[in-house]
Symmetry: C2
Subunit: 151 residues, 2 copies
């Protein structure tokens, strides 16, 4: 019973061996993965933004919890932009992601760095620090969207 369940689930979620380009069973999974990770990240980032912009009261614990998830999620989506994942629709991903990979990677790494700073700022228990880090992270999001995401 245990083994049967394990095998069934493993088969359902099977992915092939390790190179980044082969992490997903099919390109559609990579797209679903990156879109899911980006959406989850945006939800938690938005909750920090609501505090940074005064729409909800500042709550350092909640800000930190959200920033932890944002920082964790920021590492994930990029694996979903591998070779062959540019043909899957619907997507807002621009062709430049694949034609300007070094630049795209720089943006990805910048976001990982900025979300790390956002988490550190949340932990200082200072709304002013949170505002600065939120603004800087938001600009990092926007710069990448402007360059690599369709309107």
């Amino acid at each position: 019973m245990k083994i049967a369940a394990s095998l069934a689930l493993a088969a359902a979620a099977l992915t092939l061996a390790s190179p980044a380009s082969a992490q997903f069973a099919k390109p559609e999974d990579a797209v679903k993965y990156r879109q899911g990770a980006l959406f989850v990240m945006a939800q938690h980032f938005g909750r920090i933004g609501a505090m940074a912009n005064g729409r909800v009261p500042f709550d350092a614990k909640a800000a930190t919890e959200n920033a932890e998830i944002v920082a964790e999620m920021a590492r994930l989506p990029w694996a979903g932009f591998g070779p062959g994942t540019d043909k899957v629709t619907p997507t807002r991903a621009k062709a430049e992601i694949w034609s300007e990979q070094a630049k795209f990677k720089e943006h990805n790494e910048k976001l990982v760095g900025e979300t790390g700073k956002l988490l550190a700022a949340a932990k200082t228990n200072s709304l002013d620090n949170l505002k600065v880090a939120f603004g800087s992270t938001a600009n990092t999001c926007k710069a990448c969207h402007d360059a690599f995401r369709k309107d």
Copy 2:
């Protein structure tokens, strides 16, 4: 420029104040969130399964990295099953999620516990430990799917 970008992003990702039921701007976002989180989790869990079931060579470092993401993601989806999110389609969520909330919550908590054990097992650097924890976690997934997910 910085402020404009912050405001634009915050507006785009705006969520209302804190109660669990109001974490999302609209029920569709909650559904997209829970589906995204579950999909990301399943991808990383599948990579551990491939090792546990001998489809790819055991790599303790990769197993741990994947288990860290699984354990982190396992905490997230449940917030997306709040009141009013049962009417959004398409979904495989059964009505029992909302009519048997205590039972559903038990399953959610069990998964958080099991994925914590899976991470601990991955860190032991033992494939045997990983297999046991993977099987146990997979059964936890399956039990909840059997009770609360449509085929």
